[in-house]
Symmetry: C2
Subunit: 153 residues, 2 copies
């Protein structure tokens, strides 16, 4: 095909009102509030559930590795872990390599995760249902693609 021209303005793509970043952040705010609201009975926020779920699925790992997986700044993760450490939901141990801080889910952490799971499912299925599975699936793929686009070069 012959569409490798420099970016034009297909649908006001160069109008700040169409800013991908602003619209992404706006959606993140709105959706985060919906999920936080659903998770409220569990005493945790969306970000915290995300961390527990990642550890539950991937197992314990060094802090930097976890930050990479989450596409999150290392220092952000350090601070996001604080409330979880305080609640005893995660533990941190020094590795053989004394520089490495290995992060792991505790028993209480797994229990908290399991408690929150049905609440999360409620919020998730509501949103998936509202978008429709087909559109939702494409949406998730677009999010991944947007991330990939920023990671290259």
């Amino acid at each position: 095909m012959t569409e490798n021209k420099p970016p034009m303005d297909p649908r006001g793509a160069l109008d700040p009102a169409s800013c991908t970043c602003a619209n992404l952040r706006k959606a993140a705010r709105a959706v985060t509030q919906a999920y936080d609201d659903a998770l409220r009975p569990s005493g945790m926020k969306s970000t915290q559930f995300t961390l527990l779920a990642a550890l539950a699925k991937l197992g314990d790992m060094p802090l930097t590795k976890l930050a990479e997986v989450l596409v999150m700044d290392r220092t952000t993760l350090t601070r996001n872990l604080k409330p979880l450490l305080g609640k005893g939901w995660v533990g941190a141990t020094r590795d053989a390599d004394q520089r490495v801080r290995r992060i792991a889910l505790t028993g209480a952490g797994r229990q908290a995760h399991d408690t929150a799971l049905p609440l999360w499912r409620s919020a998730q299925s509501r949103l998936v249902g509202r978008l429709g599975p087909e559109r939702w699936s494409g949406f998730l793929g677009d999010l991944s693609e947007a991330i990939a686009a920023t990671q290259e070069r």
Copy 2:
């Protein structure tokens, strides 16, 4: 050929790895960093550019109204305005109704916006180009739809 990427079934949709909120936030982090990086020479961050652009397009308005437009908590906006007030890019005046704080772009603010605009365009066109205008357009629509989904009910 179409079942190893994002889960299409409602079943896969209920795996926390497919969390819409987590993936949205992840993408927001990644894309924000890309835009912040592009905007760095202007001395402003993506969030700040978004505020200036909204005021430039919509004109001055009460704080609460602006927060509504941006789907942002009122108190978040209060604090996000602080650095802009400090730089003299926006001004705040009391309305006839003394409760209302009207937010407006200053001359310096418009100038800062105009300076940042080409930097923003660079980041935006790079991302739109990587996704392709067609896919990007659908992506933006999905973001709006996700927001709408959280606002109803």
